[in-house]
Every structure is written in C-alpha cells, then in structure tokens.
Symmetry: C2
Subunit: 562 residues, 2 copies
Amino acid sequence: MAGDERVLAGGASFIDFQTDPSRYRHWKLAVDGEVATLTMDVDENGGLFEGYQLKLNSYDLGVDIELADAVQRLRFEYPEVKVVILRSGKNRVFCAGANIRMLAGATHAHKVNFCKFTNETRNGFEDSSENSGQRFITVVNGTAAGGGYELALATDHIILADDGSAAVALPEVPLLAVLPGTGGLTRVVDKRKVRRDHADYFCTIEEGIKGKRAVQWRLVDEIVPNSKLEGRIAERAREFAAASKRNASGQGITLTALSRTMGENTIRYGSVSVEIDRAARLATISIAAPEGQPPAGIDGMIAQGASFWPLQVARELDDAILHLRINELQIAMLVFKSHGEPANVVAYDEFLESNKAHWLVNEVRQYWKRVLKRIDVTSRTLVALVEPGSCFAGTLAELVFAADRSYMLIGSRQGDNRPPPSLQLSALNFGAYPMSHGLTRLQCRFQANPSDLERARARIGEALDAEQAEALGLVTFALDDIDWDDEVRVFLEERASFSPDGLTGMEANLRFVGPETMESKIFSRLTAWQNWIFQRPNAVGEEGALRRYGTGERPQFDTTRV
Amino acid sequence: MAGDERVLAGGASFIDFQTDPSRYRHWKLAVDGEVATLTMDVDENGGLFEGYQLKLNSYDLGVDIELADAVQRLRFEYPEVKVVILRSGKNRVFCAGANIRMLAGATHAHKVNFCKFTNETRNGFEDSSENSGQRFITVVNGTAAGGGYELALATDHIILADDGSAAVALPEVPLLAVLPGTGGLTRVVDKRKVRRDHADYFCTIEEGIKGKRAVQWRLVDEIVPNSKLEGRIAERAREFAAASKRNASGQGITLTALSRTMGENTIRYGSVSVEIDRAARLATISIAAPEGQPPAGIDGMIAQGASFWPLQVARELDDAILHLRINELQIAMLVFKSHGEPANVVAYDEFLESNKAHWLVNEVRQYWKRVLKRIDVTSRTLVALVEPGSCFAGTLAELVFAADRSYMLIGSRQGDNRPPPSLQLSALNFGAYPMSHGLTRLQCRFQANPSDLERARARIGEALDAEQAEALGLVTFALDDIDWDDEVRVFLEERASFSPDGLTGMEANLRFVGPETMESKIFSRLTAWQNWIFQRPNAVGEEGALRRYGTGERPQFDTTRV
C-alpha cells in the first residue's frame, strides 16, 4: 500500500501555505478593470514533492496553495474586480485534475489533507461569489477531466469550447477506482442538478461528454465555437459584472507577508503563537488581544492594512491551522488559549459590526467565517482553556464554541494576581460566522432549547465568570483551582491515548448537529466515502487502480461488493 | 487484518432473514391489550456463527433478525398494540451492544452489512412510532452500553433504573477504537439534542453516565428507583397508549411463512423470482403482476392476508434483497424486471390509494416504503430493464426510479408478439414512498425543473411508451431493438469490470440528491466514517483495539491524525 513519505522538492523542510503572485509557478493573475483572469499554466517541474511531473495542467497541493492565495487576494486587494475568468494557459487542455502519480505515491494522511484543502479552496470560489460578488466563469478549452472539471463545477458559469474535442469528464471511477471527491459527485447532482441517472452515466465513462449533450444534461452552461469564444467570454464577463452585487470601491488592502518565525517547537506570528509539545501530542495556539482600540473609522482600517488586528489574527490563525494539519500529523489536540484585554477584542467586534456594510469589513468577517470553518473540519481534538488573563470575547469566543470541550477556571489561581477569567458574547456570535452546515456554533449548541440562545443573546457585553458561563451552557466545565490541573491533565492525557481514527470519526459526527448543506455534504457524505476508498486495496493496493494507472497493467480487483 | 469467513452455526449454508416467534432464541414477544413487551434475553450459545458466545445480552445479526421480525409482526399482526416496551430479561444488564468477538472476527463486508441491517431495524422503530402509532419505551435496568444504548436511542422514551449502577454508555471510541455506528453519534446530538461537548465527554468515557446527570444531559428521559420501576412503566405505557395515533382495529394479518424455493442459482417466491448469473456477476429480480383484480374491499384484503399481492411482493422482495446483500457478495448488479398485466398493478395501486385511511393499507404502503429504502441503500448497481411484457406501473415503477440506470425498449422485438412495453405512473409515485432523505424518487429526479414533476403528474394513468417515458425523464435511455442487446450487454459487462468500492461510493453519493435527514445522515456521515474506521489498522489490525479487546494486551496505535 502507498504510504512512504515523499520528499519535498527543492529541499523544503515543510509545506508552506504562504505565497504571493511574485512566486507563483503555476498560475497567472491578470486584472483588467472589473475582470480578473486566472490562468492555469502548471509548471511540469514545479511539483511540491519529488518524483512526479505535473503534466497536462494536473495539480498537486502546491498548485492549489497558489490558487487559494490568488482567490484570497482578489477579495482583499482588488475591490474593483467583479468577475474572475478561470482558464487554461495550455492548448487544448483545460486541466487533467489531481496528478495521479502524486496521489498514487502519497500517504493516506496526505491524500485526505490534500482533498480537504482543495475542497476548501473550491468552496472559497462559491463563498466569494455569494458573499463578495466576485463571480467565476470557467472557460473549458480542451479536456477538463476529474479535478479539472471539479474546478469548473465550483464556478458560476461554464463555457465549453465546441470544437469536437473539448469535453468535461469525471473518469475517476472507471480509471482510478476512486471518487471525484473534490466536490464533483455532490456538485453534479446538487448544484448543477444533473439527473442522477445521467450523472451515473457521465461518471462511468472515461471520455467524458462534449457538445450539445453537455448542455442538455446541464454539465456546462453553453458551448461556443472557438471562433466566437473570446467574444463570448467578454460578453459573459460584462453580463456577470453588471449583475454582481459587489459594491467595493477605493483601495484594497495588500496582504503583505506574515511576520512568522518558525522554531523547533514554536511558531511565532505577530498576534498568534503556537507551542508544540510533541511528547504530549498537543499544540497550544495562543491569541493575543489587540493592544489598543480599533481605528476611528474605515480610513484608519485601510491605513492599517494587513495589520488591522482582526485581519492579521485571521491570517495567522489560518496559517497555523494549515501548518499543523499537514506538517504535524502526530499532534492529537489543538488547545486554544488567549491573553490580553477583553475590552479591546470587544471594541474590534463593535467596529466590525457597526461598519459591516463596508466591503472590506465584510471581507474580514467573511474570512473569519472561513477560518473558523477550517477549524471545524480539522481532524484534531479542539480544546479551549479559559484561564486568568484570557480574552475569549466575541469573535475569539467562537473558538470556545468550536471546541470539542472547553474548560473555564472559577476565580483566580493562588499566587496569580490576574483577574478571574471572563467570557464575553458579542453580536458576532449570533450570525456572522455560520458553520458549513448553515448553523452558528451557538445554534448548534442550543439545539435542545432554542430559548437558551435568546437567554445568551440577552447577556451580550457582560463579562461572564466561569459559573455564569457554565450555567448559560457556554463552556463544558467550570473548575476551581483545586481541580483544574488534574482534570485538564487527565483529559489531555487520556485523549492522546485514544485511537486517532476513532476520534476523527467521532468528532466529525458530533460537531455537525442538524441540517446539511451542499458544502457540509461534501465534507461528510462525499469525503467520508472517499476516505474509505482511499483505504481500500482496490484503489491503493499494489494491484489497485491508482497504483496501476499508466503502467500498462490492469488493476486486479477484489470483486466483493461491500 | 480480520477477513477470514466465519462458519455459520448449526451447519447453515446461508444467513436466513426469515423467522417467526416460535423460532426466536433471543427475544420474547408478549402482548397484553394495547401493550406489547419485547424482552431481550439473548441465548449465549445461539450465535449466528461459530466461535463466540453472546454474553451479557450482546448481539449479532441473528439476534437482530429476530428483533426486526418482531417489530414487523407487531405492525401487521397486532392492530391493538399502541406501545412496545423494550426491556431486558437479564438481571442488572440491559444490553452490552454488538458482540465484540463477533465483530473482531468478521469480514469487512460482514461488519458493513451487519451495521446496515441493524440501522434499518432501529430506523424501523422510529418509522413504526411515527407512521403506525406504535410508540416505543425502553427500560434500562442495568448497563446499556454501545449498541445497547443505541437500541434505546431509537425508541421514544428511555427510563433508567436509579439504583446507583444502571448506566447508559457509548464506550466504543475509548474501548474499541470504532464509532457508535448504529445511529448512536447521530441520535445523541440530533434526536436527543445532547449538547455536543457533553456528547464528546459521554462518548469518551468507558463507564457511561447514570443517575441525575443522565437526565440533565438528556441521555435518558427519566430515572426511577427500582421499587417504583414497574409502576412507572405501567404508567408511561398508559400515557403513551392514550397519546398514540394508532387507529387500528379488527383483525391483523398473520405474516405466514414465505413460499420460497432456493436453488443453486435461483430463488423462487410466489410473485418474485431471482436468477443469479455468477459469471456475469448479476442477479435478475423479476416481479410478476397480480393475476387478477384486487379484492373488492378491506374485508377481502384481510381475507387474503399475507397473500394480498402488494404485501406478498413487498415481503418477497425484501427477503430477496437481504439475501443477495449478505449471501451473494460477488454480485455487482441487481437487474429489475417485471412481467404481467400492468392494468392489474394499477388496480392494486388504486386500491392502496383509495383505502389509504385504513390502518392495514397504511401498513402495506409503509412497508413498501421501507423495502424501497432498503433498495436505495443497497451497495449494488441497480438497473431496471423495461421490456415487452413488463408491468412497471405505479409502485413497481419506483424500481425504475430507484435504479442507477434504466433502459426501455422502443417498440417490440422481432419475433416477439407481446406488445411494446409501457411505463405507467400512479398517485403512489408522488408521495407514498419517500426516500430516507425525505424526497420522493421523482422529486430527486426532477431537481433541475420541479415543473417536470407536474408534467409527469399530469400523465398519471397513461401507458407511456419508451419515447414518451424518455421525453418525460422517467427512464435513462430508450433504445430500439437493433441497439438494445449491444448497449445493455456492454453496460453490464463494463459495470462488472469497475472497482466495487468505487461504485459503492459513487452510487451512495449520486442517489441522494438534496437534503439530508437524521436517517440519511446515519447512512452517510456516520456510516461512511464508520466504514472508513472499519478499514483502519488502529481498529481492525492485529494490534488494533477491536482485535486486542479482552486479550489483556493494550492496542498499539499509529498515532497519525489523518
């Protein structure tokens, strides 16, 4: 079975999620007024790991890190952009999907993490379209196969060249014995509403579908002869721009490089720090409150740029989570702590709430939403420790509600002259940050008695002590100084002793109470089945389809239907 | 890894889903007026396979087959029963859950099929409560652990003895490194609305929760001292009976033994037959239309009893599906065919529709709904072939809509003097048989244009030929005689050549378009994660928790979090 760790290319010691357009190897970002063009032109020799070439615009995680960066920058740096054209820089090939040799040689954990990140990136297209008015149009100039078509599926409009050969395809099942797992199966039927038996046919043919049938079956929105293609793209871009609800203007904020210092067991950002205890298998993520009050108004926020505290913390936290997910696979638990003046956190929340109509404030809020969603689908036990000196207020309190368990100290500690901890709610806990299934974390929490939600809302702005927070159902356990050390230590030790897989499955079920959306279905129904298949010898065994692909040998299947 | 086939006990050559109370080894069914009592008293030596003992009221598939039979009989045979008391026949033990040695030694396919059937049985409790007014009360007199507590979770009301030791527990994650996968994780948060952090705590402690906290955390409905237990049970039974909406009266129908003849490659029932082609890896399930018209009224239906055609076919089809699922693991495809007079099928549908207020007609319809749901979650490719002489009308047409693909012949075949096939809709296609996620199969089909549903509804009662059916979107492909043989043959051959796992995952995604319900979440989010875990060495490897349980040796875990 696949499993040996690959070697990162170029002597890299870890996978870095930070990049910027000057360093892109696979994408070109060009902006012309309201229209941005994202051109995929993958550098065959630019793989993240050694041992494979990224032929035919196939991609690996490195390619997707650039894409995610570009989509993020478009939202913050280009207020004027209302339409993003996604297209290929190669002739007669749109994108061949995830690189098969990369997948075949990847560990199970890498496959799963790769799919999770690429799913988040594609969900990001839809989030941008819905919440920032940047609409996405895909131009399929050749073959869009597997992950290539899944890229297109995440956009608002798909134009297929009508040249007798350009086609869309999801050939994973017949060719590779895995699923179109980057949202493909779900989006085909749930988003594009392709009839399920048509989808069954489409997903079992290698060559895909082109021409009129692609439109009739709703797989693409239109087919256009090559001679008219550029004109049609420009026309659609104008239409989508005109219909966009983006109301941004003025300057964007440049997403400058993060301040980040990586040590053996630490990562220090400006406001976030990570301490890694490998023996205990835990990483402590600490967030510092802002040192002062928020800027007086929008101009002040723009002047602060990427150092505007909520934006800076969101970026740092996002990077920390992604880093820990993929570079620290032995870490079982993420422990959230905070320190600083809660009043300052609350003041920033008030700024974000009173200025929410401004496009850039909206982007900051939407980004926090996405970072918190990323935490929700992170397969590590999430713990919040609310201790003296902490500042879990408003937006930061979402980390407490995202946690699988939270502990809050009653009173102070002996010999510690900091005040007892408080937890504080703000308006942002009541709608700004829905989870992927559509509920806020507090709605999730108060399924039994929705009146508890109103009871909590009535306490917005109060500094709640541990017993109050526990009584309101906002923390799991309130403990006094005498019990704290033992209870928390035993919990963390015991948790680290459990099967990592059992915990992953348990947490993925308990965290998402109630409804499902297309996005949450992608992370549950689709992803969980794909992860199962990623363990099955028919896909990943020595004789499985993923390993045999391209060798000229046919895969050997255990024909048992399970 | 676990994988060797176990040997069936008592020299049995296959697993039989047919039983009746006279043969029960593990359950006692007693009816007293409006109240039935189902007592679990598992015979340690009555395991379905050799090699383990069913201690402490632990169960295997054989125990669950009896339970499913009892719940089914209660609905059809006991119109007067409004309340079912589920309790244990053992002292101080309610049920220890699925037998661990059975699970540890089971093949992956058996684990998955075992969980699927037990999930269907528990969903059946809820279906009976909601749609037949038979409310379920569980009396937990001792430990209800794992699958034991999951049994209770599927009922309407849980009474826990308050004796200082009786407790409910989901110790799977800490003890066995698997999930409480028979609905446990889902029902704890989605049905009982236990707060997710409380659920996290509860699902990671071996000893479970008893007494007041069990009530405060919503894990049970009430705790009652042993001295008052019998009185309280009687009181609750009266209350639930008084509130029941069951409006059945008169005689029930005895579910007499099926007429069934098993051959090497065939199963023949009264109206259903199965032909197994092992080389082609397909099973053809043929359903015969009724020979005549339905009875004139309710009395006639009761007089026919279990031979009332819709009931007989539902029972035969149910048995055939269950048999193929667990005893014929190499079969890749189920091909549905039908033969006989469509007008007779339609006449029965009209009977079921015009008499739907009658409790027994309701039971027949509800049962068909469950059989069709069972087909929806069957991990085999489902195919419908609509050929001359067939009778896919109304209820039987649901098999066409349940299929992953359907083919319908245009016109007749050369040398075949039967009339061209027709497809016919009835009122029952528009609401009687919702899938587990709440949509009808036609709603699923017409997600793109709900007006197509109305267009189809307007054609109820018409004999639609292949081209009409295709134009209405009711079949996948209409083919003429010239193309039929090649197209169908190539499809079936190709399908059989694909990875069984890839198909399972693909079908499980494409079949369930749109919303999810608690029931469908159990079959997607929960089951898919459990199936993943059932492949992970941390659970099922030689050093995994499931294999090591009870050996005195601690499991060895790969600590990578995936």
